[in-house]
Structures are given as C-alpha cells and as structure tokens.
Symmetry: C2
Subunit: 437 residues, 2 copies
C-alpha cells in the first residue's frame, strides 16, 4: 500500500514526550497561579462564526484567519482569546457575576508566513477582569501581581513588568492640539527601539505634520527614564496643563502603589513611557513583561486596560483590564536557546520491572505504589532484563523497583535509584517514601 508521508504544517509546535512534560510544567504553573487569584476557567470553542471574528479586527489579522465554510455556515478558527471573551460576555451577561474574572489557556490560530519564533497555532494564557459599567483601578494593580507570581514560580531569572498609562501620552498629544492623530503618533513612537530617536522625530514631523518643537517635546517625553519616583517627578515637572495627562499620571501612581501592596517588589515593576502597545484598543494602563535573560527577546506577556470590551456585540459598557502570556513562543525560545532543558520522558516516578515475565505480584506492587501516591509504570513486555533497564534509562524514570524470585518470596522490591545506582531491598511503603523524597 502506498504510504502517506507523516508530516505537519510548519508553524505548528509539536513536542516529544520529555518536551511536552516540560511545557506542561509551565502551563500548570500559569493555571494554578490564575486560580490562586480566583480567576474562573473559561473554554470557548476553537471555531467561531466568521462575523464574530471579523467584528473588531485589523486588516493584517484578517488575512491570517483560517476561514472556511461548512454547509451554509461561514466559520473560522479563533485568532486570539479576547474576541471570544467579548462575545461570551455579551452573550451571557445576564448569567455572569461582575466583576467577571476569567482565565483561558487555549490555542489560537494565525495563518501567517512561518518564521522563527512565530507560530500559526499557539497557546495564549489570558486573564481579564471585566466590569459591568465600571471597574476600579485596583484591578489594574492586581494584574501585575498575578504576572509577578507566575514569573517568580517559573524561576527563569530576573524579569521586569514594564508599565505605562496611555492617558499620559494621549494627554500630551492633546495638549499639542493633535489628539485626533494620537494613534499615528503612537505607531511612530512604537518604532523607537527599531529605528532610533532621530528617525522617530522626522516621522513625527513628516507623517503627522507635527511642529518641530512639539516633536522635540514628544522625544523629550519618551526619553524620560529613572526610578518610578523620578519618572513621575519628571512628568510632573513637564508642567503640561491637560486633564487627561494629569489623570494618566495619577492613575499610574495609584496602580504602582497598589501593586506594591499586592506584593510586587518595586524592582519588578518599572514605568516605561516608551511602551504603548500599538493597539488603539487600550485606553489606560498598559503592560509588557521583559526577561533579563538576553536570549529571550521582546515582551513575553502584555496587556492593559480597555474601556469597552464588547462594543461590537453589545450596547452595554464592559470596561476591563487583562494580560496575555504567549506560552508557545516563550517555551520555544526557552528550549531552543538552552535556557531550559528537558528531563524525564515519563510522569512516572518509579518503573516496576519484573525480572522474568509480569507476575501478579508485580501488578499488585504497581497498584500499591499508586495508592501511596506514586505515579507508577509497570514494564509490560517479555524482554531480557537488560533491555528493561535500558528502557528505564531512556525514559529517565528516577527509580526502578525490581521484582525477582527473592522479592516475590519476601514480598519486597529491590529499589534502584537510577541516578546513584544504589539498590536496596525494601517493602513497598518504604520504597514509596523514598521515591516521593
């Protein structure tokens, strides 16, 4: 029979067992932390009606959607978890309790040209807090607290959550009489890291028709650095008489102060006036998360405050604040750059290995280990003993419980520590204790 070549699309991450176990470790940390903060799980369909997906979307993303017909239905794969959230909140608002705090860890799909670090299928890990009509600024301070906990538990070295407030720049641009051009100004400023100050200044003058002294003011503003306290002082020293600008500073001050009460150390939460997060979607607080390890490039986790989540789907106002961690991209970088390395290729902590064929006693022992809380695998095949140990080495199981005639007679196991090679004859209870450490 002619064989079909087994392959998958490029841009789709698929892992070998030891890699998958490692991926799941990080995924579990995220999920547990989200739940620790009382976020409720959400699991929306992978497939949405196309008119939902297209309701609030940029032109670039539109092209990337996997869209298809089934019968009379015009469908597509979700490209993020925010549109499904907006649709969900609008659809079930009468059944939900607000503030609605949900997390979703799920796959999203973008059919873009594959390139290093970009995926067509990828996990997003999102938290959002949605108010009904209003939502207090305390929530803006809690989001970095959650993210701080996640990255602390990741234990991947230093990291900084960069924070800003869109009202500050909006207010500044407003004070220059250019508020209607603020998105364009934002897009230009967003290029700062790539093209440098001088080009940004030129672009402001040429593309937005900004006066040179005003462009200088923007550059002077974006250049403000220092400790959080210094930045706030420098902003206030700009002496800009604009309400939006003042509100932005006050919000930023309050969010910082409350985030510290929530337990975020000051060194992990730094004002960065250059981050704007291109999307016009955000209206106040914005976040990005940067890891100190230079091998991990760019923001690994970003989000912010938005005035109205579901404006495409509902007349009600649902302000919210949220953040999204791109786990597939982060994990792929961590692994390929050697920041993390794989361990065992099995969740089992002990492999029960019968010397000869699988005896009832070996099966009982496996059951006893599990009852004692030890994830356990039984070696099932009639192979030579040596082959069984090779298998144990290959899957990287930390302990092997060998069962030969002597062990059967004594109702014990020969517990072998695979790292040290040390072996001892013990009963299953003692063995379980050793395995669980």
């Amino acid at each position: 029979m002619a064989k079909v070549t087994p392959k998958i699309q490029s841009g789709f991450m698929e892992l070998l067992p030891a890699e998958q176990i490692l991926f799941d470790k990080y995924r579990k940390i995220i999920q547990e932390t989200f739940e620790e903060y009382g976020f409720v799980p959400q699991d929306t369909p992978i497939v949405e009606n196309a008119n939902i997906l297209f309701a609030q979307i940029g032109e670039d993303t539109k092209k990337e959607i996997y869209r298809f017909a089934k019968g009379d239905d015009d469908l597509g794969l979700r490209f993020d978890l925010t549109v499904p959230l907006a649709r969900y909140v609008a659809m079930y608002s009468n059944s939900l309790t607000f503030p609605f705090r949900r997390y979703q860890i799920g796959k999203a799909f973008r059919g873009e040209r594959p390139q290093r670090g970009r995926f067509r299928e990828f996990y997003m890990c999102d938290i959002d807090i949605i108010g009904n009509g209003s939502l207090s600024l305390v929530n803006d301070a809690e989001i970095p607290a959650v993210i701080y906990q996640v990255f602390k538990k990741f234990d991947l070295g230093e990291f900084v959550i960069r924070i800003n407030n869109r009202k500050i720049l909006n207010g500044l641009v407003d004070s220059l009489g250019l508020l209607e051009k603020v998105s364009e100004v934002l897009r230009i400023i967003d290029k700062l890291g790539k093209v440098g100050q001088e080009t940004v200044r030129q672009m402001l003058i040429e593309n937005v028709a900004m006066k040179a002294p005003d462009a200088d003011k923007i550059i002077e503003f974006v250049k403000i650095v220092g400790t959080n306290k210094q930045i706030i002082e420098k902003l206030e020293a700009l002496d800009i008489n604009n309400e939006m600008f003042a509100n932005g500073i006050n919000e930023l001050k309050e969010v910082l102060e409350k985030a510290i009460s929530f337990g975020v150390p000051e060194k992990n939460l730094q004002i960065d006036l250059s981050i704007a997060r291109g999307l016009s979607y955000y209206t106040g607080t914005v976040y990005e998360t940067i890891m100190a390890d230079e091998r991990i490039m760019g923001s690994v986790c970003g989000g912010g405050r938005y005035d109205n989540l579901a404006e495409s789907f509902s007349d009600q106002s649902f302000p919210g604040v949220g953040i999204s961690l791109g786990l597939t991209r982060l994990f792929s970088q961590l692994l390929s750059d050697g920041v993390i390395v794989t361990g065992a290729a099995t969740p089992a902590k002990v492999l029960v290995v019968p010397m000869e064929t699988s005896t009832p006693f070996a099966m009982e022992v496996a059951g006893q280990f599990r009852e004692l809380g030890v994830p356990t695998e039984l070696y099932t095949e009639d192979d030579k003993f040596k082959k069984k140990l090779i298998y144990a080495n290959k899957i990287g199981v930390p302990y092997v419980a060998i069962i030969g005639e002597d062990e059967i007679n004594k109702k014990k196991v020969a517990l072998k520590n695979m790292a040290t090679g040390k072996q001892e004859l013990v009963d299953v209870k003692t063995a379980a204790k050793k395995v669980l450490g």
Copy 2:
C-alpha cells in the same frame, strides 16, 4: 454602531463558570489518573494536513471533516486523536521509546448534524500503548485498570467495563467458512440491541448468505451470558475446532485474570460477547464502559486492541491497545439529566472583602492567604458592603474575610462561613487553616 449578534454554532459546548469548574474537575481526574499510570502527555495540532486525515477514514466520517484551504495547503480539523497519534508515531518513531504510552486530552471536530448528545466540537480523552513490532497482552489488562480508577474517582455510581475479544467471533465465522465476510457479520451483530435477535438472524441469512443453522449458531453464540467463568465455559463447550477461536478465548481469559491482578474487581469487568465495536480496526480485545445509572445511555468509554496503528504512514508494524473517553458527551448528559449539579462559580476558597474601600491591609491579607495555599479573591470595587456580600453569595465562595477598621487595627480578619453564617475574629493563619478545613 450596528452590533453583531453574539452567538456560537450549535453542537459546540460552552459552559458558564460554575459548569466549567465542574467540567474541569472531571477532566483533572482523568488527567491525573492517566499520569498516575505513567502515560505521557501528548498535544498534537488541531489542524492536520487533509491527506493525513483522509488516509484511514470511513466514508461517513469523511463528510463530517471541517476541511479548508490556506494558500496552497489542503487542511482540516482533526476528527479524533487516533489518526494524529498514528501520524506522530510514524513521524517520530526513531525518537520515541517503545512501548510508547501516551495520553491526549483534546478537542476533536465533526461537522455532523447536531442532535441531543452529539457534539461537533468535543473532548476526547485517549490512552494508548503502542509497541514496536510486538506488544504484550499485559497492556490489554492494564487499560481496564486505568478506566476502573477513573470511574471510581468520578464517584458517579456503579459502572461496568464490558470486554470481549474479536478473535472469538472471527474464529467462529471462520469455522463457518465465511471469514472474508466477518466485517459484515460484525456490523449486523452490532445492531442486536436496536433491532433484536430475529432481525439480526434474518439479516445474516439475507445479507451474508449464511445458512440458517449457521445463523442460529451465531445467535446462540451472541446469547451466551453469565458470569465471566460461565461464559468462558460455555464458549469452550461450543467445541469449535478453530485456532483463532481458541486464541480469542485464551486471550480473553488471560486479560481478565491479569486485570484482576491489576486491582479491577470482577463485578466491574464483565465479558459481553455482543460488543464488537463496529470498526474493522480492532483485532483482539475490545472494551465498552456502561454506567448503571439509566440516565447515562450507551457506552461512555470504548476501545480495544489493534494490529497496526500506522499502516497508512509507515512500513513498520506498531501494534497497540487503547481506549477513549468522550468527556463532552458524558458531561453534557450528567449535567442535563441532573446526575451532577454545579457548585461554586469561583476557584477561590475565600473572598477578602474590605468594609470600605480597598486598603493596603486587605491586599496584604489576600497575599498572605495565597502564600498559605488558599486560593483567594479580593473584592476590588467601591461598592456598598451589602452588594459585596451579594457578590460573595452569587459566586458561591465558601468563606468571606471581612476587613473593617477594627480588623485593620487588630491585624485580623472577620472570617465568615457563608454556609453557616458564623463569623469570628481571627488572624490570617488561623483563618487559612479553617478555610482549608
């Protein structure tokens, strides 16, 4: 602005928070049990190349595939987790260690006409053990042991794993000289529950051209009931001189005996000669799982032994045995028929409620609870105290930690048990202990 009506496709299950938390509880039991038995996690793409999906598929399923083009690529959504497993094993066989024991809990898609209990997007929870060239029968006995543990932990009342071996019927049909028609015979027998004995007998005579006495023999065979021991005795008493038939009986005996060594009580594992699992795919042991609760209809979990997993993708032989639990369908039945009821709509065990506005102390208390292992939510909004307690009731959080002036001064919380209404002034450590019970 014109609004898009927020809705989803029928046949796609989407849950409210309390329902989702309940769903996740069952999903977690499944996952933890699979890992307890040393199965490694697998997470293949939702999207596969169409030629992979179409490689080994029946005509009925073909029509149900969500298929689409993206650029030059002919793609589709996976309709089960077995085809991706076959593709994966063929693709990475050099990197995998055999026997390869994997589980996958993931969504599959079938665009069939929606009807009660049928879903277009649904979770499959699959375990399979794949050998390279050969695979011992011990694995056939371990599968029911895993499923027994899962349903025991589900705690949804009595259940029976029905077991059979395809070689028995194949051998019987072979002894009648009709082996090439065995799939047709199987399909007819599979209708037994729906159409009854007499119709099955007629169909055997008319559709397979079976002689009347031979059809009677098949009916006599399918009617065999009793304890496992009685059934085996009755099968042996049929005195059919056929090697395949004898092998089938011996395999069934061995699997039963070993499953009992693995800890499956006899009453939970019963031979049922009428189950065949239509798919020509299975070649030996087959399973179905039936719940005693009459509200849960049909098999909730089925599978079996197959000779060659990846024959469409590889020249190598990969025999395997596996089982699949359809969680979406099961959960939907459990919930809609009132077998299970929803509880809290939050993973938090305590809600910290400031009497007035959110104070730093309230935020600190929330952090302390979390450090003590208590999933904790802080009430963030500046609402009236009464509204805060209404919120607590609505989300069904078991405890509320109230913080007023007195509590701030004493550095304590007023812990209120929401079920009993009892309230007491305690420090956070004592409160955490009470909450964790």
